[in-house]
Amino acid sequence: MTAAKVVEPVAGAAPRTLRVALVGNPNSGKTAMFNALTGSRQKVANYAGVTVERKEGHLMGADGRRISILDLPGTYSLRARSPDEVITRDVVLGRLISEPAPDVVVLVADATNLRLVLRLGLEMKAVGIPAVMALNMIDIAERQGLDIDVDRLSRELAMPIIGTVATRRRGMEDLVRLIEERAASAAPVQPSAWREPSAVELRALHREAERIQKACVKPPKRPDTFTGRLDDVLLHPVAGILVLLGVLFLMFQAVFAWAAPLMDLSNSGFEALSAWVGTLLPEGILKSLISDGIIAGVGSVVVFLPQIVILFLFIILLEDFGYMARAAFLLDKIMGGAGLHGRAFIPLLSSFACAIPGIMATRVIDNKHDRLTTILVAPLMTCSARIPVYTLIISAFIPRQQVMGFLNLQGLVFFGLYAAGLVSALTVAFVVRKIFWRSDAEPFLMELPAYKTPDPLNVLRNVLQRAQIFLQRAGTTILSMMILIWFLCAFPGAPSGATGPAIDYSFAGMIGHAIEPVLGPVGFNWQMSVALIPGMAAREVAVGALGTVYSISGDNTSLLGASLAHQWSLASALAFLAWYVFAPQCASTLAVVKRETNSWRWPIIMFLYMTALAYVAAFIVYRIAVAFGAG
């Protein structure tokens, strides 16, 4: 008598959930199919211990039986080459402890591009996995006049086949019916029967797939010439680069400028809310917690939403249209020189606006090490939150003076700071690749899919899903960090009769004073050290924090600038700027890295290496400036 017997369904009780997994080549329409089947009943999490996203949804079968659908990472073969593909293989073969083997696997195939998926189908047939094939994009196949002998194909692969159009939800009822029938007749799987095919076996499988393709598919009467003609422009050495620059510029503008009004709106909204709540509550710690801690914390999460939504709108549109692979092709040589993947340009470009959406956008990179390298260097790109800090210091210390007749010195320093960020990002990426992950430079092998018109509903659903993931997962971590920082700055309060600013007596003040001896050699005084602590909430908060420590009320930055110019040496100011090129102390960035990599290891490594670089840079700048008499 085993425990399993006890929970076996008795007559009349609801039958066990039917478990279905979607498998297919990249770009076969798997995501669209998952959305078509499950609608909004989806849940996104991570597989235990890995960074691979686990997407599950469910629907109700004809007889009221619950069917759960698992969307597995796209793959060309059961022989896994990346952590994503390991998950696909292990789930399909029932090897994952946390994930029971699926009852039925749906093999999603692009009807216009069958060759590679046939081999995957043959691999599954050999193991005896109960499968159903969804012959997707059948609308495009019909338009091209492609003639597929479905009955023959079904016999060859030993799986029932149904034509579908995932984006139009065509064929979904029939697919569900086939899944249920297949589940009823399925024999149990012997996952142990599978082992990695050798090169010889792969060739044999290919020949078999080739034979099936010849037997079942006649060449299209009206082949797709649009993709080829468009590629002649978009992959052209000159025209292609111009288009790419245009796309990148538009995206940069959108993330940078279009999001700004929404972010301002969000900021002032939360400020107003905080002020309004302030009038309702009596003065004291509760009021401070609610308005300065919680409301300001929620505000600092929501403020990222416009950028994230706009960025992912672009990414998903470009991905669905099929352009992303082209952009990666065009940029592979440049990015590859720094040891980055061609696709890393999107996260890095977005990081000029803010590292948070940038780090989330690294999902476009499949390879784990390529992705981690990109995540590690993304915060070195000059984000928009550094601008207020740069502006404050530059306008206070750098004379408004012309150099070489036409260059503005202030502008030049500004540009230099941007360039320093970019150069250090590429250098760090290069070093990381060369030193740590030298051994596994991945080959660049990428299918360029046929161009397709993106489906608006599908795009909308995917964008909203990204926003939701951000709010649920990164948002909670950011919020708790914000409350922690509030706590450090508010406790303990200033003793009665205190003369200095309240922050001086808080934990933040104590930490600032404690690290001051360490920061002394780079020219930081205790006010600068203390301002770094609340500056963890967001880089631009450092401006307000300096205002607080110098007891300058309100937003009077020109007064603050004048006061700084009076109290700091030029060398200290330059050292502060150099520190901010690296600015390791953004808590939100670290929180998002934690969520995206699913461990504290990477945020800690990031914090340490960026602090080290910031310290060294500030030290060098300070010492050189002092040597030139600016101390």
Partner: protein, 109 residues
């Protein structure tokens, strides 16, 4: 490699009309090249890179298999790398150094 070429040259002298030119590496192909894959192998890259047998399997999985028709349809703008090939009815982007071991026979059979 050298001996293969010499054998082919010899062949050229003996027969007035060569049926096939000698196979060359896909890595050296220029835009507009059309031909068929004669052998798929892989060389382990000098600095890092995958072991040759693994690279060979990945190439096979992507559809680079003996007998497949290849056409180089686009080249990158720096150093003409990477390349985009039409592989039977698919389009695949690869770096030249990863396809050094793929030998191709020029000409439309």
């Amino acid at each position: 490699m050298d001996s293969v070429r010499r054998a082919a040259d010899l062949d050229l002298e003996l027969t007035p009309q060569p049926v096939f030119p000698a196979p060359t590496s896909l890595a050296n192909g220029r835009r507009g090249f059309v031909g068929r894959i004669s052998t798929v192998g892989a060389e382990t890259a000098a600095a890092g890179g995958l072991a040759a047998p693994e690279l060979e399997r990945r190439l096979l999985e992507m559809g680079f298999v003996e007998g497949a028709r290849v056409e180089i349809i686009h080249e990158g703008f720096i150093g003409k790398d990477p390349i985009c090939v039409r592989l039977d009815d698919m389009r695949v982007a690869v770096r030249r150094r990863d396809v050094r071991g793929i030998m191709v026979q020029a000409g439309e059979p």
